[in-house]
Structures are given as structure tokens and as C-alpha cells.
Symmetry: C2
Subunit: 359 residues, 2 copies
């Protein structure tokens, strides 16, 4: 088992990474009260709910379950209210622990419910997808979507611990595994060119779910994210770099309807667009972009976005929260392995970046 510690001004907590951790009550024991709600979705419930529920029940925890519908399109007010209603029906109080069992959508939704139910109750992240293990379960960003924008309603709220059981990745559909790799590659691009080279070297074995390599990948990404979050919990500065590819990616998700493109797929295509914008700014060259695009393709990810009207690109991106006082902010690459914040006021740069992808 590997352990990564996350330190923030408001709270510190451990991430445990390894195979079979869902059978180890000692990891949960210090952080759980007498009563816990396991909140998962209809896809994950048949796979892991019974196992986790039994583990807790056998150790004296009073457990109840809340099962949400599966998919990004259900990361919304209805799911949130389903959680609130069930917590109230079960007389959950301020010491009741919420456990998020699932991927990023579950983690974000349950985290926000935990942040806001009775002004905050303890919660534990049990991420079951590669994407949530390397990224969304770490750092305390919680949110739901609004019809006018992704992640528009949320809070910064840290879990008591994160338990990443690598065995859960074996049940993950190939398309979702690839989507998780998009965030892995993103980490390499924004902070560590050696890790980029290591990924290029091992990408085929990683895609075959080699356990040893996966443990290294998850621990490395969690450590990178933990370092960034420790420096900047509430995204005043460097944490914004983690949004590499996300402004373009969110536009793709919004245009195509949430859930039709997976988040990681949109981030992959969005990251290649961020590389192209970096070319417009003169900091990358076409070979760099081609190298990035190739790695995404090797991870079975799209390296080009769908085509839609320029006005729609801009409308979606101006609703994205990386807009400050009217300027459009993008995370771009100063070079492979180093990100920067670019404030774009010259819209022709965006036009050139997007011109092959508009109709």
C-alpha cells in the first residue's frame, strides 16, 4: 500500500492506494462514526456496495445506502436533493459520515452534499475510477452542474480520507480507463517532463492495466496534486494549472450535452487545443503539439474536438468560471512540462486556434 498525505490550511488527510483496500476496516476506523451513509450509483452498487457495507456493518457501524442514477447528466440538483431527502429521512446528524463510492460524479456530488448538509458533515472518498483516483477525489473541490454551466455550484470541502482500491479499476470499461489517462497525461504536461517521457515509454503496458505500473501512476499523480493543493487550496493561483485543457473541454461537454463525451475525452481534445493556443502565443511548436496528440491517441483518446460554430465555442467558454472581469483566462503551456495562465483579449488568437473545428 502507498500513502500520500494532503495538507491544506483547513485540514490534512491521507490517501491510501493499493489493491484490496476495500476489505481493510482499519483504514476507515479512525475516521468514521456510529452512523454512515454509503452513496453510490446504480452501476457501482452491484459491484462494491455489499462488500463495503458488510465491512462497516460487521464492525458496528449503522449503515444506510443512497443509490443515484449514473452519469454526468445526473450531477445536478435532483441528485443532490435525493441525498438531502434520504439523509433527513434517516435522521442523519452532524456526526453521520457520508461515503462517496464511485467515480468523479459521485465524489463531486456527495462531497457537495457533505459540505452543505447541516453546514458540513464528515465524508470519505472511495474512488472507483482511474479519473477519480488520480484527480477528482483529491483536493476538496466539490460541485454540481447548472443548466448554464458545469461545476457552477460547489464548495471547497476536504474529505477525512481517500481510499483508492486499485482492484476496482479491473471492472472499469476501457473507455472510462482511457478517460482517466487524459488527466494522467495532463499532470505530466503541466509539471513534469520526465513523467511525460516515462508515460510514453510505458503507455502500452499501462493501457493493459499492469498493477505495478498503475500503483506508480496513481501515487505519482496524487502526490503532484497534493503538492499543488497544499500550496493553493482555493485556486487563487497555481491550482488553476490543473485546469489545463478544461476550458475548451467544458465547452465540448456543454455543446455535446453532458455525458455524451466523457470528461476525460473532452479534456484530451481540449488539451490539444490548449497546445494549439500555446502555439499561437509562440510558446510551443507544432512538433510539441503532435507529440501530445500522439500520446492521447495511444491512450485511445480523441485528439480533435467536434466541430461547431465559433460563436458557440465562445459562448460556452465565457460561461466557464475561468473568466475574470471579462478577460478570458486559459491555462497554456510555456513548454512541455510547465503550465502558465494566459489572459486572452485578442479574440483572433482563439479564432485561429479553433478555425479547423468550427462550422
Amino acid at each position: 500500500m502507498k500513502t500520500v498525505h494532503v495538507h491544506t490550511p483547513s485540514h490534512s488527510y491521507p490517501i491510501y492506494i493499493g489493491a484490496g483496500l476495500l476489505g481493510d476496516f482499519s483504514l476507515f476506523a479512525p475516521h468514521i462514526g456510529k452512523k454512515a451513509a454509503i452513496i453510490t450509483n446504480e452501476t457501482i452498487a452491484p459491484l462494491y456496495l455489499q462488500q463495503l457495507s458488510d465491512l462497516l456493518t460487521q464492525n458496528g457501524v449503522h449503515v444506510f445506502h443512497i443509490i443515484l442514477r449514473d452519469g454526468e447528466q445526473f450531477k445536478n440538483h435532483e441528485s443532490l436533493n435525493q441525498i438531502y431527502d434520504a439523509l433527513l429521512a434517516h435522521h442523519a446528524d452532524r456526526k453521520t459520515t457520508l461515503i462517496a463510492l464511485g467515480g468523479g460524479v459521485i465524489g463531486d456530488t456527495v462531497g457537495f452534499a457533505a459540505a452543505t448538509y447541516q453546514r458540513g458533515v464528515p465524508f470519505i472518498q472511495v474512488p472507483t475510477t482511474l479519473l477519480s483516483q488520480v484527480d477528482s477525489s483529491v483536493g476538496g473541490k466539490t460541485a454540481i452542474n447548472h443548466p448554464l454551466g458545469k461545476n457552477m455550484i460547489g464548495a471547497f470541502y476536504q474529505p477525512k480520507l481517500v481510499v483508492a482500491d486499485l482492484n476496482t479499476l479491473h471492472s472499469l470499461p476501457a473507455r472510462e480507463f482511457s478517460a482517466g489517462m487524459a488527466e494522467v497525461i495532463k499532470y505530466a504536461l503541466l509539471g513534469d517532463v520526465d513523467f511525460l517521457a516515462w508515460l510514453e515509454q510505458h503507455i502500452n503496458k499501462i493501457m493493459q492495466c499492469d498493477d505495478e505500473l498503475l500503483a506508480q501512476v496513481v501515487a505519482h499523480c496524487c502526490q503532484m496534486k497534493a503538492d499543488i493543493v497544499a500550496e493553493d487550496e482555493t485556486e487563487q493561483g497555481i491550482r488553476a494549472h490543473l485546469n489545463l485543457g478544461h476550458t475548451f473541454g467544458h465547452a465540448i461537454e456543454a455543446q455535446m450535452g453532458y455525458g455524451n463525451w466523457l470528461h476525460g475525452e473532452a479534456v484530451a481534445a481540449g488539451t490539444v487545443l490548449a497546445c494549439r493556443l500555446s502555439e499561437q502565443l509562440g510558446s510551443l511548436n507544432a512538433d510539441d503539439t503532435a507529440r501530445v496528440a500522439q500520446l492521447f491517441r495511444q491512450a485511445n483518446l480523441p485528439d480533435t474536438p467536434p466541430k461547431f460554430a465559433l460563436e458557440q465555442w465562445l459562448a460556452h467558454m465565457s460561461h466557464d468560471k475561468k473568466v475574470e472581469n471579462g478577460k478570458m483566462r486559459f491555462i497554456t503551456l510555456a513548454r512541455l512540462g510547465a503550465a502558465q495562465i494566459s489572459e486572452i483579449t485578442d479574440m483572433s488568437l482563439l479564432e485561429k486556434t479553433l478555425n479547423k473545428f468550427t462550422v
Copy 2:
């Protein structure tokens, strides 16, 4: 002008108290960005919205307005969504300042919107009722109601500053002024028997809105609350004392339908019940309770609750969040001027406390 400073682990901010402060841009200037949303209700809007809006606009702030319906029954998801929708329609970003212009309902709802819009934007409290000036605008508790319980959904989130203009109290209906006095009397009971005697001495002039005495009342209560919040921002301990009378009070509000009894009226009757429960516990005597009841009556407040079934009292109170692991927690009085937390497991004590007020 009097100034009280609130210090919490997460944030420090000033409360300004005085007549005519809504005309002083210098108070707002250090805490406001280029864009601000003034959020108020249909009752307050005709009285003070234009004045505050003009003040900001004349000083170069881009201002837009959101006007909610007035009343505790609108401290709900619909009002919250009205705020989110308007913020998105106006392309509000993370630096847009939300200004809560109104009473406790506005402050709680806008504060929660500020805590959760894009994971947190700056906000300013401009309380226009006695209750919000002495209590709800200070300390960062934000929330909306759920059909199954009051303040069930919320966050701890501090404002950038609080501006309490005493002139706004002149337009306050007498019934609401009295409701604010309930919280003033509560402060005296839970922490300061000298202040209780001072209130008994001056209650008639205070009820006639004497400006000099009011400034003392507001500053004294804010200072008491600031001291408590500094010690215990997230209500792990002593801050719970501020809930004196509130568990009974919330039951009254829930039973009678939110908005039919004013919060302060319910707190007054609830506080007398807390005194009766303290009698059951042996810490107060009947004369103490009579003294408290008399002061509430002098402030034109109810000293007895409506009658309803014991089962309904208990059902409402068990949904209240001051329930931990099944025990019912009440704030009671160790003596006049000193509160304590009492965990009640013997339900016959509650029966005796409530027996005159059940059907």
C-alpha cells in the same frame, strides 16, 4: 460610528454600526470589486435599493439587482436558484461581490449563494432589521430551509464586512423590531446578567427606538457574538449556546408553517420553554423563569408557545440538527447569565416541560 472586529480562523472582518452608513462609500471601497450584485427582497427594495445602488454606481462599480420574495417561507431552493440563474445570466465571475441587503432571510440565503456560487465569491452583509444586525449577519452561518427542517442546507462562510445602518431600523414594523429584541434578550441570558439588568432598566426607551441606546444594544450584542465566534467558528462547542431557545423555537416555526410565527417570536416562547426545562433540571427556579417571561412581554413578545401534540413537538425537535447520535441536545441555563449544553435522554423531562402546551 462603532466598529466591532470579528476574528475567525478562516477570516477576519469588521462590523460597522451607526446611523447613515449606507451613504458612506469609503466603508465598502476596500472590499468591493468592479462588479456587484445587490440582492434584496420586494419589501426592502423600494426603501433602500436605489440609495445603495446609486452609491456604488457613482463610484464606478457595475451593479445589477436581484429581488427575491419576502418571508421565511421563501428561504428555500427556489430563491437560491433565482440567485444562481441571475448571476449566470449576468456572467458573474469569481470576483463579483454579492451584497445582501435585508434581514436574516436575505443574509442567510445570499450568504449560502455566495458560499456555493463557483465554490465561493465575496459577499457583504447590509442587515436592515434589528434581528439581523444583532445576530444573523455576524458569524458566517448561512443556510436555506428544507421542507423537513429549518436551516438544514447551509455552510459556514464569512462576509467581507457587515454594514449595520441604524437608520434602516426606523422603517422596521413594530412586530419585527420586537422579534429582534428576542435575540437581544437571549444574549443577556446566556452570557451577561449585568446586561440583563441594564435591559430591564431601559426596555421602555429601547422599545421606543432611542438611537443612543440602540447603538449600545447592537454593538454589545455584536461584540458578544464576535467573541463567541472567534472561539468556535464552526459550532463544535460554545457557539451552540447561541441556540438557546432555538430547538423549541424551530419546532414552533415548523409546526405553524414557516413565516407565520416570526423567528424571534418563536425564539422568545422557545427560550421560556428552555427556562422551564432548566427548572426540570434543577438549575433555575420559577422566579427566574417569571423574570425572563416578563422581559419578553415588555418587548411585546409571546412568552408561551401554541399548543400541539407532544408527538409533533418531538418529531420536529428530532429533525433539528442539535440531535447527535440519537440523544436530544438542548441549550439550557445553569443560572440567569450562563448557558450550558444538556443532553436529554429522559423524555419525561420534556413531557413535563411541554405538558401545558400539548393537546
